[in-house]
Symmetry: C2
Subunit: 242 residues, 2 copies
DNA sequence: GAGCAGACCATTGGATCCAATAACAACAAG
DNA sequence: CTTGTTGTTATTGGATCCAATGGTCTGCTC
């Protein structure tokens, strides 16, 4: 575990996510292998995985290309995440959650409450919120008892900006971000309320709308088009899907 | 294209789907390679892809195991397909469909009408219905304009029995299957009606329920538990996701 | 007799080599 | 001048070899 193969895979994912690899440009095995200082073999393996994840697409009959995803493709991925997490919430509500899951969800809510009750956000609050947000979503998906949801979500989670684990934050306007994340956190509250009450349809609707919190709310709460100054992505290490 | 690598991948998928490989049992590279008469390399590649598709899972620290999916996992996958195809139908209805898509959908409906109007099903009707069913679903997903849906569906489509391309038919009771497929076809009618009328929510609801036609209706329409005699799977060649 | 340690074997991952194929370019012919 | 054909090169896929790691079995010691 964590041999050169995994390292190459993680490196390529990161390079694609942060744009070091020009989108749409062709990418070959040998230059990539030399650039990363490994043999062609782990690169070959990584290319297959990355193709399955949708980050690379075949470029003609020879080689791969970094997939360039436009605005509406991103919106589509967010929409997909919405229906999947909505399904997870509904099934969790319908089947009922265990005491452990209930405890984790309530703890996430409480930790978020403590974050937001002081009325502003500082730098390390962003990291904390990111962590609890991730934990909340993962717990809900697990609580659905439907592993197919996690499997389907795994694809989206590899697309940059479309996953829960990628939070686009505007560090220049932390008061705006406070409102945005606070709203998202209130949606968490509503979702937990619905799930614990066994209200499947309500839980589904809330989580479906909540998917927009990642991306669309960023515009909704004031960050206009082209206002990319100071926008940062908190991207955490790839949590394993299993 | 279509070299030994693709052949190995297709063979392994088929062997997993039809149960030639015992579920849950460990599967190693070397015996598999010898059994298929190829080197270890294409097997290694295929294992990675199959792991990404969810057909294989890691068996401890060494090797892979064929994933055994129980009844409720299958039901979960069907549910996932429901929400995804529901989303596709809704987005197709909301954005409107092109003339070409409209023509294809109507042609699928008409061909189905001709199949069912004679009041019974014969053997080659099953293949015809399978083809038009597949075409219908693919067209609808494409019409959504959301490639993330197809990407998310690709995972489910590899799980045996959960995809549109796997129809479980009971050849012993073709009159029952007539009622079942006819019902599914009427759902197609309703879905197209809703999509063409721009009724997104209605289209979504119909397609969501329609996902159950693959599996759950088989029991609903009379095939009881354990009544597996004469049940066959029409599984067609792996249509490429892109 | 049981537990621990060491050694051997099985199996996987990486590297290098070889073959096959596709693309590009150059040259010749119409 | 344009187009077709052929040759060369670049790149990918497959095979074989080598190293590293984990598991198991056996023997020794307490």
């Amino acid at each position: 575990m964590s041999g050169p193969g995994q390292r190459v895979l993680a490196l390529l994912r990161q390079m694609i996510a942060e744009g070091s690899l020009a989108a749409g440009e062709r990418i070959a095995e040998i230059p990539t292998a030399e650039r990363l200082g490994v043999s062609r073999m782990p690169v070959r393996m990584a290319f297959r995985v990355l193709e399955q994840e949708g980050l690379l697409i075949r470029h003609g009959a020879r080689g791969y290309a970094v997939r360039q995803l436009g605005e509406e493709e991103l919106a589509g991925a967010v929409e997909v995440r919405g229906v999947l997490e909505g399904l997870a919430a509904r099934q969790a509500a319908e089947r009922g959650v265990s005491a452990e899951v209930r405890a984790v969800l309530l703890e996430c809510l409480e930790r978020g409450d403590r974050l937001f009750e002081k009325g502003y956000l500082c730098e390390e609050d962003l990291a904390s919120y990111h962590d609890l947000n991730l934990r909340f979503h993962q717990t809900l998906v697990e609580a659905s008892g439907n592993p197919a949801i996690a499997a389907a979500l795994a694809r989206n989670d590899h697309l940059p900006f479309a996953s829960v684990s990628a939070l686009v934050v505007d560090r220049e306007h932390l008061e705006r971000e406070y409102r945005r994340f606070n709203f998202a956190h209130l949606q968490h509250h509503a979702a937990v309320d619905a799930v614990l009450a066994g209200q499947g349809a309500r839980a589904e609707g809330i989580m479906r709308e909540h998917a927009n919190a990642t991306l669309r709310y960023a515009r909704l709460f004031g960050t206009e088009e082209g206002d990319s100054v100071g926008r940062t992505v908190i991207q955490r290490g790839s949590q394993k899907p299993g």
